[in-house]
Each structure stands twice: as C-alpha cells, then as structure tokens.
Amino acid sequence: MSAGDDGLDEIQAIFFEECAEGLAIAEEGLSAMANGDVSADVIAGVFRAVHSIKGGSGAFGHAALLAFSHRFENVLDEVRAGRIAPTPAVTKVMLGAFDILSDHVAAAQGNSDAPADEAMLEALDAILKGEGAAAEGGAADPAPAPAVEDSAPVAEADEFGFVPVAAGVEDFDPFGFEPVAIDLEDLSPAEQQPWTVRFGPSRAALANGSEPLFIVRELETMGGRIVAVDSSALPGLRDLDPEDSYLVWTIELPGTVDEQDIRECFDFVSPDSVIDIARAAAEVAEVAVEAAVADAPPSPAAPIAPAAVAAAPAATPAPRPAATGEARAAAEPASQTIRVDLSKLDQLLNLVGELVIHGSILSDRLSPADQERVELPELSRLTRQIQDNVMSLRAQPIRQAFSRVPRMLRDLMAETGKKVVLETSGETTEVDKGVLEKIGDPLTHMIRNAVDHGIESPEERIAAGKPAEGTIHLSAEQKGARIIVRVADDGRGINRERVRAKAVEKGIISADAQLSDEEIDSLICAPGFSTAETISNISGRGVGMDVVRSNVEALGGRVEIHSTPGEGTTFIMALPLTLAILDGMIVRLGQQRFVLPLTNVIETVQPEPGQVKPTSPNSEVIELRGSYLPVKRVGQIFGIGANDRRSPEESLVIIVESEAAGHVGLMVDTIENRREVVIKSLEDNLHPIRGLGGATILGDGTIGLILDIDALVASTNHQSKYAMKGMAA
C-alpha cells in the first residue's frame, strides 16, 4: 500500500471519532430501551452503531475490540430480528456490555488497558443460549471465513448430478483432447495431483454482473487450462437464449495450487452454478492429461460467447436517462460532507476576527458619509455573514457531552448505593466545539457532586417523604448568546450552616460576614473550599467545585448554584455560545473603556434626581416605572474611583438582564458606541478575573475589557476585593 503510516493514523483517528459518535448513539438507544422504548428504530440504531465499531476495529487490527463488539452485535442482531425479547434483564446486560465496549474503545486508543470482559461475554452468551439459539453458531467465532460458498455449491453439484469428464472431452473433439486412463498407483503424492475443476455457470451467475470469462482467466493465471467443454446442453440457434448459460468447462490446474485459492475464484459465483473442484485421481479415473492439451491453445473466447453476449449491455453505455440530471441537482445539498482539520477552522475564525476588528477601525476613521461612499455598511453585513457561517461550522450538538453521563451515573449508583433517574432535555442545543470539549469535565464533577452530596440514600429519601429514586435533570438551552446547562437534583440541598462554618474555618470569609443564601451557596465554588471533606462522607475524589468554576470561567462562562434545603440543588453553567465574537456596547468609566455584551442590555436610563436611592451604605436601587431595581456602580466594583464621586444624575444606568438576579442597573459614566468585538482571552496572560469575560482590541487600537454581566451582578464588595487580588496576581 502506498499510503504511509501517517495516512492510516489519520484514518484511524477518524475511526475513533466514529467510535465516539457510535458509542453516544448506542448509549442513547440503550438508555431509551432501558426506559421502555424498544421500538425497531431504536434497536436498529444501537445495532448499527455497534456494528460500525466492529467493522472498523477489524480493519484497524483491534482484535480485542473486534471480538467483543462481535459478540455484543450477535445479541443485538437477535434482538433486532425479534428472536430475543428486549426484556429489562436483557437490556441491563446490554448496558453493561456497552460499558465494556466503551472501555475496549478506550483501550484500542491506548488510553487504558483492555477491560476484563470474560464475565460479560458469558452473560451475552447466556442470553444467546437462553433465548436465541439461532445465533449460537455465529457467536463462537469472531471472524469466521465465509462459509456459504463452501457448502452450497457442493449441494448444488449433487443436484445437477455428476457428469463424467470424459463426455466433455468427446464432445470437444476438434481440440484434439484425448481421454487417457491413469493408473492411480503411478501418481505422485495426493497433494501433487492436478486439480480438475468443472465449472458450469448458472443463468443467475450471468445475471448479477458476473462474467464467467473472468473466472476462467483467473484460473489461467494460476496455471489452469481448459481441457474440455461440455456443450451438450447447447440448444439450436433458434432456441438459444443469449442470457442463459449452457456450457460446462473442465479446467485443469497444477496440483501445487492451493485448493483455497481455487475456491476463492468462485467466491462470487451464484451457488446454483456447477462448481466441482477435485484432485484429478481422487474422483475421476479418466482425465485429459496435460500432455494432450499442450498443443491446443486455451481459447476461452469462442465457447464463452454466450456469456459475452450477456455482459454486453453492461459494456455499452446506455443513453443517459433524463432523470439523472435532476437526481444530481437534488443530491448535492443533501448529505455531502467534508472533514476539515479543526485548526484550519480556528485559523479562519481568527482571520474573521481580524476582519471584524479592521471593519471597526474603518468605521471609526471614516465619517458616516465616507462610510456610505465606500459602501462600508455592505462590507460589514458581509463580514457578519461570514462570521455567522464560520461559527456554525464549529457548532456541535451538546448531546455528545451529555452522552457520557448515563454511564457515569450507573457507576456512581453502584458505588454509593443510591438510586438516581436521569432526565435530559435540550440535547440538540448546539455549542461551539471548543466549548463542548471543555465542558465534559465540569459536567462530570457537577453530576458527581449531585450524586455524592445532593441525592440522599433511598432510606433517607423515604424517611423524608420522597421517592426512593432521586432524579437528576440535565438540560441545555440557548439563551441569548449563552448556552445554559443545568444539573438539577431533588436531593437534600446545600447545608448552609456547615458550608458557612467551613468557609470561616478556611479563612475564606470572616466570622461576622453577612452573606445571603446565594452567597453562601457559591462559597462551594470558592478556591480552597473542599466540599468533599465538608458535606460528604465520600472522599477520595478530591475534586472541589472551585475547579469546575475555574474551568467554566476559563471558557468565558459562569457557574451558579441555587439550592433549597430539602428540595434540591441546581447547578447552572452559563457558557458562551461561541468563543470569539460578540456584539458589544462600549461604555466608559473614568479613563477605562469596557464592553458590555449587547445581548444582556435591556435599556439605558439617564437618572433623574432622586431616581437612584441608597438602601444601605453599599447598595442602591433605581426606581423605574414603579418598580425598584438594584444598581451596581461598576467603577466601585473594579475600584475605579472616578465613578464613586459622581452623582447618579451625571451617570448613565444601563439596565441589563442577568441570569441570577434578573434585571439590574449598572452605573457607568457614559456610553461611547456599539460595536462587534473579537474576544481575546485574558487567562492566557492573567488570572481569571471575576466580572471580566475577556478583552478586546477596539477600533482605535486600545484595549477594552469585556464585562461578564452575571458575574458582575453576583459580585459583592467582598468578592470584588477577591477579584482585584486576582488581577494583581
């Protein structure tokens, strides 16, 4: 093969991607089956997924994966065929088999050792034996050689009856063959006996695009010669059907040729053909010896004429059907895909980012009239379209991240003895591939946290008047420019007293700190707060929620916790829809310019005297159409002094919508502009800073910091100090 290892590695990488997709589909299907949906479509989907994994595993030489997937597939095939009922017990075994299959895939990728699968193989075999005897034969051998051609032709040959070869020789006298009697005792050892092959293609053998001539030629390349043709069945010309077959050839091959090689030539010949392969002396007393044939040129062309006639329609290009053109037109938008290296997309995304920035610079430097003259608005519109398109290239359904959860839950249930039902919704929500890849771990920790700390033991739940089975609801939805992922459990809720005590003990808060419930809940995610020691008796996992928060924040996202004692806890991950570009409102605070994501902005208010009222030394509200909204001074939060001394009347209040606190007013000095900005990560160079989602280069080349509204709204003076510490570090 001319392709180097690199080529194969690349294909193998795609195979593993397909495995991941297949596993996700299989798991989804099996979960549906476990929940009672045993429709044919679901079962077929699982079967196909496992089947594809098996197919590729063989091609890439992953023997253990091949063997296991094969046995798994056998059971699925029986279930698919309706020979084994997908009872809960059977489905349970298959879920277990799925887990092992996942492990085998991981092992094939070199991520782990091959799992112990003997017990599971026994369980699968037990299913086959117990309820599906039909599949037993197939289950024994992971990769059996094709069997049908070996047996069927023999049976057919019997039916046709054995025609002595000598007859064929007589019929074909013109070639000068002479039947020669051979004394068995004169022959060399059996394996050296020449082969005699009788081949009489059936009508069907000509119908399926087969060409017997090719087989004869292939036998010739192995040293075979036609020694006789039985044309006794050939009718008169008037009755000759050009699509039927009337001839039986006798071909002799050297005894050194392997029988298997000869049989392989007939692999594709319709089983109702005459195919008779035997050592010359073993069955036939009279053969045409090689010497007799030597002068006769093997000339298959003439006798094969009927076959050639049959094949002719294939060779002659028929007039192109008129429908073809339409079919092509309809086909193209349907399902053509191309696989592209992700780094190329990233490059494209970066370039589009640069394009957006330069568009901003242009619009800054040109007067509105000049902008119109050079048709800048049209350019901006096109840039925007390119940007949307590039973003959509990277979008993937979040299902891929969710699909890991059921298995993890099963493991956790086994580990903890708790019973949990998983509900999911919004799996089709699309997120940027970069985001998708990075939320797997936080999601894992959130689920683990919910099971470890949230869901109570069955006894405890029953005592509390709840169903013994806990429920975790995993959902995703798009809200503005954010993807909201929720992990909601119906467990015991957060024990705030203990969390607070622990936070004091760890020096995260002072003993006299006045904290709201939400603030206490969010302490779980504070650095240095190890929940594992505090709330749970399950240790050894050692993953604090602060890791979750820092991971999510590194993505430009945010974690929130809502908890009601006795009723449950909801973890919310608010993730950026895309990683790169946002519509922003440029605001000014002192000398510093900030970017507010426009999707959060509801309205802008120029406060009248008295419209902003203090409620405590640290908090203010704005009265707006009869209701009061909290107001945050952005400058104060970031320690930018200028804003502190301003009276509200000299400032602007931007009403924003936040995930946690609803509508909130943010007080800034002034609004400068509205602009698309390219988000540049701060974390590459700095600590994550609470309240800031990143930075951008503005049209004039200066830096603008992008505000993370939700983090900002949630922040208190205490947290802002933490933020500034982070900034200093």
Partner: protein
Amino acid sequence: MSKLILTVDDSASMRMLLKTSLTAQGFRIEGANDGVHGLERMHEVKPDLLITDINMPKMDGFELIEAVRGVPEFRGTPILVLSTEFSDEKKARAREAGATGWITKPFDATKLGAAIRRVCP
C-alpha cells in the same frame, strides 16, 4: 483508463481505508455515505464496480443493490458487498437482490484487490 469504483459505506474511516488501499492498487475511487447517496452517485459517476456496505442509514445495502439492478444501464455492473455480516441468510438475500459477490470485513487489501479484479479485471 483504470477502473472506477464507487464505495458506499456510512463510515468515513472505512471509505478512506478503501480509497487508500485501492488507489494504491491502481483503482479510481468515488465514495458515498448511504444507500440514497450511493444511488445518486451511481448515476453521476457510472462506475465500473460498486462496493457497498449492508448496514447503513436511510437505504441499506440490499435496497441499494435492488435499486441499482433496477436501472437497465447498471444491469451488468458488478456489485460487491463489503460487510462484517457473514450469515448465509444475508448473503443469499444480497444475491437475490443482485449482488455479484460478498467480501467479509475486515478485508485484506491485496485479497480485496484480487476479488475486485475477479469481477472487474
């Protein structure tokens, strides 16, 4: 002109593997990712040989073979099935549908080449 082969398989890695190993043996390869797409590509590229998988979404291999055989132009085009399935029942069904031959996955590239030349030299 080297022989043109259309490979129909829902697995991209399998299509690529076929393409890599068969291109190296001097064949020209086109691909399609399911039966529906495969049938459309048949009309477009008019291959010398069709190699198809059996288990595919939308239209499986059996249906594809039947559909291809239903087109007079393709009556004599050899069709090989390349599948991990190996049951006699499935093979008989494929033959009934009009398949020329059956190759069991995983395939050995050289043997696959030989098998192809057997039906399409």
